[in-house]
Every structure is written in C-alpha cells, then in structure tokens.
Amino acid sequence: MAKATTGNFEFLKVQDVDLEVERRGAGAPLVLLDDEEGLTREAAFVDDLAKSHEVIIPSAPGFGHSSRPDWIETMDDIAYIMLDFLDQAGIEDATVLGFSLGGWIAAEMAVKNVARIGRLALVDPYGIKVGGPWDRDIQDIWFLPKDEVQALKYADASNGDIDYTEMPDEKLEVVARNRESFARFCWRPYMHNPKLKRRLHRITVPTLVIWGADDGVVTTDYGKAFADEIPGARFEVIEGGGHFPHLEQPAAFMDVLGGFLAGSQKAA
C-alpha cells in the first residue's frame, strides 16, 4: 500500500495530557482521528486530503506519542480531552474523520458537543452494543489467534502483513504502546460504551458512515445499525475493503469521502 510522507509533530498540553499533534497542508480544518494501530496517518490518501485541507492529526491519550495519565480510563475521558483540544487550538467548523477506534472517539465527541464540528465521517467505528447479552457484536480480537484476527480485519488477509523485525525500536514502542492503550480502554466493556447508542441521536451535523463490505470484526449489519442511530446519516459500503477499507480500497474510499466533503462543505 502507498505510504504518505508523515510530517513533524508537536506536543500541546491539554489538561495534563501531552497531546501529540501533527499538521499537514493548508485549508479548511480536517481533524483526522487515527485507528488504534496508527496505520491510517501513513496512507497516501492523507497527503491528497492535505492538498485541500489542513489535516490535523491529534493522537488520543496513550496512542502515538501522547501521554496517558492514570485518570484517563474511558472513551468519555478521551472525548473530553479531544474537545478541549478543539477549543484550545481554536478550530472552527472542523471535519472530524475517524477510523475504527478513532471513529468511536469522533462519535463520543459529537454526542457531547458539536460547536466546533461541521461534519463527521466515521469509518468502521466500534463503540455501541447492538444485540443482546448473548450476541457477540464485535469479534473478540484478543481471544482469537493472530492469523484469524488478520483474516477478519482485511478483505485480503495479506494486506495486513507487517514486518516488525525490520522496524526501529522507537517505532515498535509506539506499536506496543498503542496495543496496550487499546486494551486499557476497550477490554471491558468490550469495545463499546453501553451508553453511546442512546446518545447518538444528539449528533446534529451531517454525518457519513463508511463501511468495508468485508469487515469481519464488525460487520456491515453493525455499521448499518450504527448509522441508523444518527439522524440523517448516510451509510456507504466499500466493496473489497475490510475493517480498514481506506487502506485496501483508497480510490473508492476517496470517491465516497470526497463527494460527502464537497456536498456538506458547500451546504455549510
């Protein structure tokens, strides 16, 4: 998969969190909330977005190089830090684009306060419980063997191959830390906030929910149920994409996203 040239980052103190923030390009602000593995920021399409937007990539507490004070325990805590960040950075009419865990964070932000958010795009987010107590809405990625998890995540499992043995320690530390923080926040309740589903109706900005047709971790049925809770949300499925459809099908993804951005920004 094509790689972007990752820019430089700086730290911003938000409450007691040292928040890593990366900025690329110039234009209308687009806040990109990365997936839990930190893969999205490296994709080439982010550079394409940066041709028409200022792409702002804040790493959630515990992810990337952002610190993780002990009191940060839930997605609520993270969402409030991210809203504080929007305030502090003075960002107005932001497009908030979140991937997987980042999509969940974006939804948690938007149910709390959309004053600085102009529109929302969520890509295969986790975050809600759809079925009953006996239903497994979200596949248990920590219980299943690694190969099985990779096959669930990608339409073509080989797209998930990453050679960690060639990575410098500094980067491996980020990978290991991302995994630890992901478990810290998402172990129990597993990958969801039991309250979020009842709050999604509060999202009053134009919203696009994009889903990979072959996402085996959270299926398109789950995605449809997620989108149905958000008033007026559009739901789009990307064929040939898994849990990260933007990585496996970047052209199709950019078509859908581009259309939404053009339409909703014009309308705004």
Partner: protein, 390 residues
C-alpha cells in the same frame, strides 16, 4: 527451613495437546468427566492429608478454565484441609486478588479458614498468570494496581476492630466494612506474594514485611530477585528475612536414580501444558519494553526458556530437583547457595500422570530421608535479641 507439598490438581486425561489449540482457557469442558474429577479431587486432598501426617506443610493455588488445575477455589480446598489436617500450615498461594470481584469477601474467607484451622493459615495473594485474564475478564493492563488495592482493602478489613469503615478506591467502593469473623492469628495471618521479574513490586512486598515467593525460575533470576527483596526487607534479623523468602521447584525423590528420573519426567508434564500464544501474552500484561521484543520475535511469554529447554537445563537451574534422597539434598543445598539462601521450600511433587502411589512414595521418601537433613542444615538460628525462632 520448612517444606510444603503442592499439586495443581491436574486433570491429565485431556486430549493429546497436539490435537487441540490450547489446554488452557478454551479446551471444551466436554472433555471433563465429573466422575473422574470426583476421584481426582478426593485423591489430591488425600495426598495433602498424607503430607500432614508426614510433617510437611500444604500449599494450594487456583486457576480457571484449564485442564492443568482443577482447584478453581483455593479457599474451598483450604477449608477442607483446615478440618482434615491437624498440624500442617495451609498456604493459599494464592488468592488471585486482581481477578476476584470483592476483596472483602476474600478477607472473610481467609478469616474463616484461619479460625477453623486454629491459626494454621498463610494467606497468599497473586496477580494471576496472563491467561487468567480471559476467564476473569480482567483488564490485563491493570492487574498489579488491582492486586495492591485489593490487598490493602483485605488487610484493613482483617485489622480494623472498631466498627464499620469506608473505602472508595479506584477499583472497589465499600461503605460499611466490618467483617465477622476476624482472623484467628492476630493482627492477621502471614501474607505471601509471588513475583517474577518486577523489582518495584518486590520492594513493595518487602516493605510490608510479606513473604516473597518465586516459582520455577532459573537460579540466576531467582538470586537477582531474592537480593532485591533482601535489600528492601523491613526485618533487621537476616534469619527473619530468610524466613520470608520462598521458592518452588518441581520435586521428585526416588529410591534410585532411574526411579527419580522417571518421576522427574512425569512431574515435568506441567511445563509442557499447551497454551495458545494469544493467551500467554495479552496486551499490556507485561511492560512495553517486553512487547517491543515480542514484536521482534525475541520474547514470547515469561516462561519460554523454562518450558522449552529440556530436563538437564531444568535440573542445572534448580527448576526441577530430582534424584535419590542424597542427591536431592545436595540439589537443595546447591540451589540455596546459588540464590543466597531462602526459608521456605515449596514443592510441586505431583503433576500430570503421576499416580497416587508414585506421589505418596516420592513424598514419603522426601519427608523421611531428605527433610530432616534440610531442617537441620538450614535451621533458623535464634535471633540475638529474642525474636521468634524455629
């Protein structure tokens, strides 16, 4: 020095490990036959009663969702032994506090066992091995924090004597704690904690005067950790420090070398128990630096060397002690010197397919022909200023 008999109470009749992904966590319990289980429970408890008769102490532990350990509630086994033994101390090592829902309930269970046994309980606490987080659904990134918050609450419940107190911590909230019964031993039973490589945790154990125990680790590692404990101990008398240091090897005592080696291989079954990789290292259970090595492929769980290096390595490292009574005594002595001394020898004397007869024979040989020499060689010397002596 004191010696303790231990078995994990295995269910050895499970399918060939080569045919299943894991014998821990996910092995379907259709492979458990309750009639076989009934025999095994009664047999393992009988062996503890034999230990009591032989003058050995008894150690218990618990695990969940695994064919390697049928003891899923050490306080239950401890309660049975509290009634069915008369002399042995009974060490629960331990209560998996990180994975228990209520530390006050643990305090009550331990106080009750302590009363029934008239003060023969040693109350241990463990963080729990990695795969336990799946059965308990405990967050793997916070097991140590939960362990210590739970211990502090439990000890407070044991020792607070003036009516209700409240506690609003990170993991537990209690508004009116006032346990009945209190422990028989005052202010509370001896507390034991296990550890493997975390020195900060060892200093915490030492600073509270608790006993520190290590299981099945190479002697160099054990030395390093015991030294860290000794440095941080609150006890002035070195003998009192030693009394609070425990080590567990696999132990097999035979009439002759052939018999001992045959038993040693049988007891080593425990180390080969198959656990799927994702259960061995859940995210955040070990520090980031360990997981950097895991990503590079140079680390795959805490016990890899011990599990895979073979019987000679295990013997050389003191992870497995076996032989004739003379040979066993020498191995304990060698290990003792390697690690700078210790006071409690915890012995896994039964594992896997070892029969009741084999187990009792090995235990008896140890108790009659090795233990007296150990008691003499490593006796606790009386303290100069009149502290407790053996």
């Amino acid at each position: 020095m004191y010696a303790w008999h231990f078995t994990e109470m295995p269910y050895p009749g499970h399918p060939d490990p080569d045919t299943v992904p894991s014998v821990r966590v996910s092995l379907p319990n259709k492979h458990f036959d309750p009639k076989v289980g009934a025999d095994l429970y009664n047999r393992y408890l009988d062996e503890h009663m034999v230990a009591d008769d032989l003058g050995l102490n008894c150690m218990l532990n618990e695990h969940h969702q695994t064919a390697t350990c049928l003891d899923v509630a050490a306080p239950l086994s401890a309660a049975i032994l509290a009634r069915q033994t008369s002399k042995a101390r009974i060490c629960v090592l331990g209560n998996p506090m990180s994975n228990r829902d209520d530390p006050v309930r643990v305090a009550e269970e331990m106080a009750m066992v302590d009363c029934i046994s008239r003060g023969r309980l040693d109350a241990g606490f463990v963080r729990g091995v990695p795969y336990e987080v799946f059965a308990a659904n405990t967050n793997p990134t916070q097991t140590l924090e939960r362990l210590w918050e739970g211990i502090d609450l439990c000890v407070k419940a044991w020792t607070h004597r003036d009516g209700c107190f409240n506690f609003e911590g990170k993991f537990w909230h209690k508004r009116s704690v006032n346990i009945w019964p209190t422990p028989y031993q005052q202010p509370h039973p001896p507390v034991w904690i296990t550890g493997s490589s975390d020195k900060e945790n060892i200093r915490k154990v030492a600073s509270r005067g608790f006993t520190f125990a290590m299981f099945l680790q190479p002697h160099e590692k054990v030395r390093e950790m015991f030294d860290a404990y000794r440095e941080a101990s609150i006890y002035d008398d070195p003998e009192e420090v030693r009394r609070h240091i425990a080590y567990m090897p696999l132990v097999a005592t035979g009439e002759n070398e052939d018999e001992a080696e045959r038993l040693a291989k049988k007891v080593s079954w425990y180390l080969g128990a198959k656990t799927a990789p994702q259960f061995r290292n859940p995210p955040g259970y070990v520090p980031v630096s360990f997981n950097v090595n895991a990503l590079k492929g140079t680390y795959s769980g805490r016990t890899d060397a011990v599990r895979t290096r073979g019987i000679d390595y295990l013997k050389e490292q003191g992870v497995l002690m076996y032989g004739t009574p003379d040979q066993l005594f020498e191995q304990v002595k060698t290990f003792y010197d390697h690690v700078g001394g210790f006071g409690q020898l915890l012995m896994m004397q039964q594992a896997g397919h070892m029969t009741h007869e084999e187990t009792v024979k090995s235990m008896t040989l140890f108790a009659k022909e090795v233990y007296p020499r150990i008691r003499e060689e490593f006796a606790f010397k009386p303290a100069k200023k009149g502290a407790a002596a053996e």
